[in-house]
């Protein structure tokens, strides 16, 4: 009997398990890639998002001008294709003579960072709490679920505005306000999935084998849920970016002179009659980014988790 569980054997079994897992992963990835290529719009969305990310990372190197230092001599110059444009300022300038293209490129940093961080933290908190609540039930579940219901009684933007008013504007507070309500959706998703998965045989089997609770949650159940979480996270990104832009538009989010698309649109409102580009162009940047994220997200959903399809 001893020979079966000898150290050597155990090791080779582990290697075998990992090799199988790796092969499954690789096959899934290849399959995923094939599915994605079959959805040109989703692929396009993905490519655009990658371009935005590359642009945001390399902003200081590819921007023609400074994002915060303007030249008042060149204020409110129109884009290159209009009469009166200043050479070198392709998308025109704003009220302080700053290059609009530069500010739009730098603005992508704020939007992407807020989107990634707020969704990332929401996913982490929501998944952890949802898994615990769904697995253990009991008072923890009751407490968290009631709190989630309470947060759902607030419209998202109203809650964020309320919180930002009292916290005060700024990047950290913005993330706090967005995640304070953002985790709820992930909590509900993961909790529901956990409740469904918990009754399945493989969980029973893991229990019988004597696995600990945290090991069952983390390495047995969560890998089966994570795809749905990933899909929902992608779809929520666009929403969070619009929320950030809306808060910045109201003056509650990112503060000037840091370029954020929402506040750029807001500034342009004062010059609407004479300089249409100041608010129109940053808005187009938001629109394209959110559109791309949503296209990619919906493609991802169709591939990974078609059940989520009907809203």
């Amino acid at each position: 009997m001893q020979g079966i569980v000898s150290g050597d054997n155990r090791f080779s079994r582990l290697v075998y398990v990992w090799r199988v897992r790796w092969k499954v992963r690789a096959r899934n990835l290849a399959e995923f890639w094939r599915d994605l290529r079959g959805r040109p719009l989703a692929l396009l969305g993905g490519v655009v998002v990658v371009l935005y990310i590359l642009g945001a990372i390399s902003a200081p190197y590819i921007s023609p001008h400074s994002p915060t230092q303007g030249n008042l001599r060149y204020r409110l110059r129109p884009p290159a294709w209009q009469e009166g444009a200043e050479p070198g300022y392709y998308l025109g300038t704003d009220d302080q003579g700053r290059d609009l293209l530069t500010r739009i490129i730098f603005g992508a940093r704020v939007s992407l960072l807020v989107g990634l961080l707020s969704v990332g933290i929401s996913v982490a908190i929501g998944t952890a709490l949802g898994a615990l609540a769904g697995y253990y039930r009991g008072w923890l579940d009751q407490l968290l679920s009631r709190f989630a219901d309470l947060l759902l009684a607030f419209p998202f933007l109203i809650f964020a505005i309320g919180m930002m008013t009292f916290l005060g504007p700024g990047f950290t507070n913005l993330i706090v306000a967005l995640t304070f309500k953002g985790w709820v959706e992930f909590f509900r998703l993961v909790r529901g999935e956990m409740l469904a998965e918990k009754t399945k045989e493989y969980v029973e089997a893991a229990k019988v084998v004597g696995q600990r609770d945290w090991a069952i949650i983390a390495s047995e159940v969560l890998p089966n849920i994570i795809q749905s979480v990933f899909v929902l996270g992608t779809l929520r990104m666009g929403f969070m970016i619009i929320m950030e832009a809306s808060l910045s538009f109201l003056g509650l989010g990112i503060q000037p002179p840091t370029p954020a698309w929402g506040s750029m649109v807001s500034v342009g409102r004062d010059y609407m009659l004479t300089a249409w580009w100041v608010s129109t162009l940053p808005g187009i940047a938001i629109l394209i980014m959110v559109l791309a994220i949503n296209l990619f997200g919906e493609g991802l959903r169709d591939i990974l988790d078609p059940r989520l399809r009907v809203e």
Binding site: L150, I161, S246, G262, R269, L273, T280, G283, L287, L291
Partner: protein, 336 residues
């Protein structure tokens, strides 16, 4: 039986509203320092005696749980506190502005349903047609567009460039209107004041479109997908086989059931109407609650912001209650 279920559902909203009030109360505690410090910061030189007096006036000298208790009991009585800047009770200020906000939200809801329902039906019936592809692309665009930007683009296009519609406000300056309800469209109808009616409707169009666009987009998508599913069902085939006209089959047999998920979505979208309200009102200088709040935020008039956030949340809770009750009538199978 249904009445009991509905009553139960109504009663559930009470603890939720209570919870909302508690959360809103704690918002105030997020600020560093207390409100009096902030007021004094604005007022300039004041004596410590005056500060103490103000603290007493706002109950800030009492322990936290007492403050919470006072806040809640006052809120139940409809007393939401006193605005620092306007020197008037918050509930008065809010109720003054409410008709304008409700008119705008109503306009937006009307616009979104009038657009979304026919589009949803036609797209589902004529799947993969040009109309379907075009409107679904439009709907996708609508969900990805920030409302403040759409508002600005609409102003640039229809007000500045074409001059068809006004840039801002609720009614053209100088038109006399007798205010009865505070809803300008309704008031001008009641008074048979046609110039006022034309003017107030014209003013309502652009804000309603920018507020309602995303709602329209989502409703159209949901209605389409549920219609597509339902048109495949056996009972729809049966209705057709019985020789009913296609129009009747779609409008009566299919639409009724497809509306069920749609109503839920509309209920949830009331939340985005309320949130978008602040944004759109600031874009169009619409004299409603949203603009009042945005102004209050910058003047750090906390009781006003607090009261308004609470009213917005209550409205959302009640909207969802109405949706759930409506649900039982649309689908008798569902018990709340």
């Amino acid at each position: 039986m249904r009445a009991v279920k509905i009553l139960e559902r109504v009663l559930i909203t009470i603890p939720i509203m209570f919870g909302v009030a508690v959360v809103v109360f704690f918002f105030m505690r997020l600020t560093p320092g207390d409100p009096v410090d902030i007021m004094m910061g604005q007022a300039g030189a004041v004596s410590t005696g005056e500060i103490e007096q103000l603290r007493r006036e706002f109950d800030l000298d009492k322990p936290l749980y007492m403050q919470l208790w006072l806040f809640l009991t006052k809120a139940v009585q409809g007393d939401l506190g006193y605005s620092y800047t306007q020197k008037r009770p918050v509930n008065e200020l809010i109720f003054d502005r409410l008709p304008a906000t409700i008119e705008l939200a109503g306009g937006a809801l009307f616009f979104s349903l009038v657009i979304a329902i026919p589009i949803g039906i036609i797209s589902a019936v004529r799947q993969k047609s040009l109309v379907d592809q075009f409107s679904m692309a439009g709907a996708f665009l609508g969900t990805s567009m920030p409302s403040f930007w759409l508002g600005i683009i609409l102003i640039l296009l229809f007000a500045v460039r074409l001059g068809w519609l006004p840039v801002q406000g609720r009614i053209t300056y100088g038109i006399n209107l007798e205010y009865v309800t505070g809803f300008y469209v309704l008031d001008s109808l009641l008074g048979r004041n046609w110039p006022a009616l034309v003017s107030s409707v014209k003013h309502l169009v652009l804000p309603s479109v920018s507020l309602g666009a995303s709602v329209a987009a989502i409703v159209a998508r949901v209605l389409r997908s549920s219609m597509v599913e339902i048109l495949r069902q056996d009972y729809v085939t049966l209705a057709r086989a019985k020789g009913n006209r296609e129009f009747l089959v779609v409008m009566k047999h299919a639409l009724r059931n497809a509306l069920i998920p749609t109503v839920t979505v509309v209920g949830l979208q009331v939340g985005s109407l309320l949130g978008g309200n602040m944004i759109v009102e600031s874009v169009f200088s619409w004299p409603g609650l949203g603009r009042l709040v945005v102004k209050a935020i910058f003047e750090r008039d906390f009781p006003l912001v607090q009261g308004a956030v609470m009213i917005y949340a209550f409205t959302f809770v009640i909207a969802n209650l109405i949706v759930d009750v409506l649900y039982t009538y649309l689908n008798p199978k569902i018990t709340l």
